[in-house]
Symmetry: D2
Subunit: 261 residues, 4 copies
């Protein structure tokens, strides 16, 4: 079980946990959190990358060995997302891009149609595209055909910490797609991350699950362990469930037999 | 977060995962599983401990540094459980004893009343008593008063791999008791173990979750990670859940602001 | 499907919904609620039955055709429950008695051991005994052997409106007992009541699900329909579930065939 | 609570249960099922409507007072769906049309993009359009803008009887849309239908929940009651849930006070 790298977007990763950088009271905590989690991919909202001033640049808190996954948070249309993606690449953030196109401000649900449009454009421009979507199978298949690097269905609304409320739909995506399924949004406890990985997800991305913890650094380490546990469980083949009991130990004969002994 | 030993029954443990020894095709796998899991407490059905012949003795497959937790599997009454416990101690298995009194052969549910009776007798005889129970609060409180070392409520029927189907009742036990609550039975996937630990369980005990896996040794390692993840999450304080979204990243102003930049 | 009476405790009932009388701002609403629900069994806390003054007597708000099920709410021991039961009978409330023995004031969970003790005493005195319990199979079997008329496991803590959180344990009781299982406590929405009846419960008892509604009389009618729906579904044999889809309509050939037509 | 008609698509309905006509061993059962359910809207796959021969015409088994909701089952593209819709209207099935565009044969999941396309075309042609979709908010909003009469999100794959596995997403649709949300597919037990209606669904549509029952006619009646229960519960305002108990009856003082009496 030693050798299980995650090969994606031209990189070889040792961790299947991707983390965000939002909502920390002090940006210096970002480095501690990333280090404790073991994450090698870090998502940042380009809005928060100060392109002109080194002082306040969020990027200086991201460990150097990490791959950046800039996101298009703030985009309401495919065109806005594409524009943000280009800015990110021009700013030296690399060619990975997480597409977030969100038109609803209450639940922050992704707009699958606009996301697909943006994906098509950005794949053509040579990006590694990670679209954040509502788990709809046909859209996911079209994203795959369009050349998306992975698809990122939501488990529950962003920041809600509610876990895999769309579990049934995510399982179908995992079963039916060839590209990795990276569960994003809603993962609020390590057990949610373990469950997603047990189901066969390629990775998980989360931010609030860590940043809203009483001790974010401890929680980051917990999520790192949880993702490894879930991945290893998936590879080791979970046992079947049953509706009645199955004895772990022999149940009869003990007393008679020891009496004879 | 380094220093988090589990002090119980006069021992200091580094792992909060207890494992069983049943249902392996070859007993030699037991040592590999225990080692991979990191468990320091191993439960054995005394029925399977051949008291006279070293050849077939299950115990020789249990690593030496582990604490034995013999169980009274096969007992249908308090008296039978007490008799088995005494035999276990006489056979050199130490003074820890897991009481299983089971009168129902379909679901293998514990008999709380007989278990309480056996606990009272065995505490008086100096045992460290770990009673396996249906999660009923008043019985659990009486076990605590009687001097039980921990209480072990079931998550689901033994060997069913169904997870924490009694979650609400277990949470009440955790909140209301002073002794550790060790979740036993039903834990079939690492995510179940993580969840139990997040809730504040002291430890988890499982057997079928590992033995029914395609690769039990890999699954044992997965459970070891999962228990550590859940414990660390509990100590790090899980964030609150919400019914609407909470933005991880700022959502508005991006384009305008960069336009101005 | 017309003829499905519920024969219990020497009565023939047309409704499998039992309702409580607590927490109404005005006792006059009790009659409206009972009528709207169709319930024929009404539980009252004997504490609230003013034995000396007709003015404030709760009982005058219970329709005459209903069977009273006085409960021993307030009892902390078997002895207290027995004493309340005798007072109830002496006060003319009949020989049905719901045993509530509760020692925990936070979750109001029943004390199975004391409840069993009280049941044995009251069956001997000729009562029809309805014990409220935590769903533990062996206790339920002992109650049945002791002559209980039914067993009443909780779905969730009293007044929590959380539904069937103990569903797995209740299903086992239903499958393994001969006496009716009446699900009590926690049923907060009609869908919970329907689910309990689909599982094979004999009846459901609830109070807060109705009294906490914005319109208790409308909700009482809704629960009456829900219980009938669930019972009829149980008798009609629910279809099996599957993990993939099963077409309701033919999926192929349509266009070709109509083209040929 | 008497007056609660469902005004939709130019009709005034007394029942919020829509039923299908597939998978009955004998078409004569259709009329019995529809009558027992109280449904006033019946969906039929146009493929099964023999347009030339009265002998085998499914439609003669649908009670006359019912509104037909022909569906485009079998369509894999918007164009095919549109073509089927026109055939249905030409055949005298009226101007209501349920759009099913399905490209996946394992889970029979709807294709939201093609469904939106077909909806736009058919609204322009004067149809009352009921699109069957995966519950994605932005698509649902576009369908509403396009003039759909309702949206019909799936609870679980067609015919799976698994209930509201997409519950969280459906609740968001109900909260955010002005057109009725009619839950379709996956509803396998009356409790599922009650739950959907409690959440605020406008109606539910189901077929397999009835046709796969041991006694379909009894189950049809059960679903009719369940939908009424859920709708009435929604209008009556469900009470809040709590994590601890709330006493229905006073818990203290009983014995002292009666002792004083």
């Amino acid at each position: 079980m030693q050798n299980d790298p995650f090969v994606i977007g031209g990189k070889v990763l040792n961790s299947r946990l991707f983390v965000g950088t939002g909502k920390y009271p002090d940006n210096r905590m970002i480095r501690q959190v990333v280090d404790a989690s073991g994450a090698e991919v870090v998502t940042v909202a380009l809005r928060r990358v100060n392109l002109s001033s080194a002082e306040e640049n969020l990027l200086r808190f991201v460990p150097e060995h990490c791959t950046l996954l800039p996101n298009t948070s703030g985009a309401r249309t495919a065109e806005e997302a594409v524009r943000i993606a280009r800015l990110a690449r021009a700013a030296g953030c690399g060619d990975w891009i997480k597409i977030e196109v969100i038109a609803d401000q209450k639940y922050l649900l992704p707009d699958n149609e606009e996301t697909l449009k943006a994906t098509r454009m950005l794949v053509d421009e040579g990006f590694q595209v990670f679209p954040y979507i509502c788990p709809e199978l046909m859209c996911a298949k079209r994203l795959q055909e369009a050349g998306a690097t992975a698809v990122m269905p939501l488990g529950a609304p962003i920041g809600s910490n509610r876990g895999l409320q769309t579990r049934a739909l995510i399982q179908i995506l995992i079963d039916e797609l060839d590209v990795p399924v990276i569960v994003d949004a809603g993962i609020g406890a390590p057990s949610h991350a373990t469950e997603a990985m047990e189901m066969g997800a390629g990775a998980v991305l989360l931010n609030t699950g860590i940043s809203s913890a009483a001790d974010p650094v401890g929680m980051a380490e917990a999520f790192g362990l949880a993702v490894r546990a879930g991945r290893l469980a998936h590879r080791s083949g979970l046992g079947a469930t049953s509706s009645v009991a199955n004895a772990s130990s022999p149940l009869t004969g003990f007393l008679d037999e020891t009496a004879r002994a």
